[in-house]
């Protein structure tokens, strides 16, 4: 259990004594969040804009500390600066549009920045850069000396990923990793993330694409108004379609259609969130008549 949220609440604007005396209610960006991230799992975090997703992500490696409660990394409190420093290599965070954070003159220098700050030797740094590029499937000899700014958007994002992977994280936190990519690069990227997961890296992915979540995640945490509105396997979470719609989230296309067909009177089972499963169920239904 590398990461544990224990009754975490966070506010961007704590009330002053006077406001409390006047009886104002505290607004929480996160309110009483408790859950555990299991080693090696693929956890998706879903929620409408403003639901607290990004605030939660910033708690995952100690960039933000809870106003109340604790985030524990291997049993240690991430609010302790020393612990947070240690955790930062272990928990890699890739923010939205990470290519905006590329800065160095060459791909090599950009990826080497993190490992170098760990105080590694030149040989070790080179090793890490090679490893990072290999993991994102970019050829080391072709890309190492190129300027990151001459690359395509998809390649830039891969380089930004490589920089995080070069720190050898055991947990990778991805905030909307495929936002703004075209369908082809989006699929390539999701495959890449899935491969990293299969290598044993724990993945925490913020997304509002329910089709992607249905395809990849082991579990889904749904946030609404800073609180947990649902937590479980995609099957469990997506069976509550009406509740998800209420909080501005969709369900996967297949699940939506299955629900609507059921409402029209087709006796379909409740958990049909992939197109293949829905097609099987409908075909079986029609064959049986």
């Amino acid at each position: 259990m590398a990461l544990v949220f224990d009754h975490v609440s966070y506010t961007y604007a704590p009330l002053t004594k006077r406001q409390i005396k006047e009886g104002q209610e505290q607004l929480w960006a996160l309110e009483d969040i408790s859950f555990e991230i299991e080693d090696g799992e693929f956890l998706a975090i879903a929620g409408h804009t403003g639901s607290g997703k990004s605030t939660l992500v910033l708690h995952l490696n100690g960039v933000m500390n809870p106003t109340k409660g604790k985030v524990l990394w291997n049993g240690q409190d991430l609010a302790d600066k020393k612990v947070a420093d240690q955790a930062r290599g272990d928990i890699g965070v890739v923010f939205q549009y990470p290519e905006h954070q590329l800065f160095a003159a060459t791909v090599y220098e950009d990826i080497a920045f993190g490992p170098r700050n760990l105080g590694l030797s030149a040989d070790e740094v080179e090793e890490r850069v090679k490893e990072g590029l290999e993991l994102v499937e970019l050829d080391y000899d072709v890309f190492k000396d190129r300027s990151p700014f001459e690359l395509s958007g998809g390649q830039q994002r891969r380089v930004a990923f490589a920089g995080v992977l070069a720190m050898r994280p055991t947990t990778l936190v991805l905030d909307e990793p495929v936002a703004g990519l075209d369908p082809a690069s989006r699929n390539d990227f999701l495959d890449l993330i899935n491969k990293l997961h299969e290598r044993g890296i724990t993945i925490v992915m913020v997304s509002h694409n329910m089709n992607d979540i249905a395809r990849l995640a082991d579990r889904v945490l749904v946030l609404n108004g800073g609180k947990i509105a649902g937590f479980g396997t995609p099957e469990e979470v997506f069976s509550h379609a009406a509740k998800l719609r209420e909080i501005g989230l969709g369900v996967p296309d297949a699940q939506l259609m299955a629900n609507e067909l059921r409402e029209m009177g087709l006796p379909l089972e409740e958990r049909l969130y992939s197109p293949e499963r829905l097609a099987n169920a409908v075909a079986a239904l029609l064959e049986g008549r």
């Binding site: 369908p183 087709l266 409908v282 239904l285």
Partner: protein, 274 residues
């Protein structure tokens, strides 16, 4: 009417043509979606319509006005307005009403009419009552609608959306699509550059670009059911098309649909009559 005749375009630092000999006509009032992978030239296509870019050869005409003639630029831009991907790049004022008034005010529209235009434009995008709101305090979808209102206040005939929904969530996208459909129903031409197949399924016509050429042109039913071609072009396939195919593979005898409601009705019909 928008017409492209043998249009070729290259950015100065590119070796190959971004658009290659494009000829197409879009009649007034049509709702056209333009699809294509990154680098297919679809964004360039949209920028050629209102003279943000000019063709290297061939002609682009908007309501009989040629874009390459700089005397026409002003008239063309007041006829054809664009909304882009990032709403934050398009908002210029701190109050909603000032932002929407920015364009027509620069045209020198005097006050009773100016006020009326702002009011109408905000009503058209469903933001009546937002006049005094601060633009920075709006959601992405609301900002995008303010950007559209700013274009509408110019009273254009043609609206161009260049991946305008790409940064919005599901709710924002649906709201934007609803606004587009309503404006189109009032007679406005809509040219929508998008990656979302669900948006394309609702258009009158779908154009698909590959490497600067139009490779498919037809109704959503004609274009979006060609799933093999779409996959080859690195595009998504609409969910209804994908599911139709899966059902056909499993021996269900139904046509290939592009929109979910039609597929749903067909399945219901099939189930209740067999």
């Amino acid at each position: 009417m928008i017409s492209f005749e043998n249009v070729t375009f290259t950015y100065t630092d590119e070796e190959h043509n971004v658009l290659e000999d494009i000829s197409v006509e879009i009649p007034q009032g049509q709702f056209v979606c333009v699809l294509g992978a990154n680098g297919s030239g679809k964004s360039t296509f949209s920028k050629l319509i209102n003279a943000l870019l000019l063709p290297d050869s061939g002609t682009v005409m908007v309501d009989g006005l040629e874009t390459s003639n700089s005397e026409n630029t002003f008239a063309i831009r007041s006829r054809a307005g664009s909304v882009f991907q990032n709403p934050d790049d398009q908002i210029v004022a701190s109050l909603v009403e000032n932002d929407v008034a920015f364009g027509p005010e620069n045209l020198g529209i005097p006050n009773p009419e100016l006020r009326q235009r702002v009011e109408n434009a905000l009503a058209q995008v469903g933001l009546t009552g937002f006049e005094k709101r601060e633009t920075t305090a709006l959601s992405g979808g609301q900002k995008q609608r303010v950007a559209i209102a700013g274009v509408l206040a110019m009273e254009p005939q043609i609206l161009i959306f260049d991946e305008a929904s790409a940064m919005l969530d599901v709710r924002g996208r649906r709201g934007l699509m609803r606004v587009c459909k309503e404006l189109n129903a009032q007679g406005m031409t809509v040219v929508m550059i998008t990656h979302y197949m669900e948006e394309a399924a609702e258009a009158d016509r779908v154009l698909v670009l590959r490497e600067g050429s139009i490779v498919l042109d037809g109704t959503p039913e004609e274009v979006l059911t060609q799933d093999a071609v779409l996959r080859e072009l690195n595009l998504d396939v609409p969910f209804a098309t994908h599911l139709s195919r899966l059902l056909q593979d499993r021996g269900v005898d139904i046509p290939t649909y592009v929109d979910q409601d039609s597929l749903k009705e067909a399945l219901w019909h099939w189930y209740s009559t067999t």
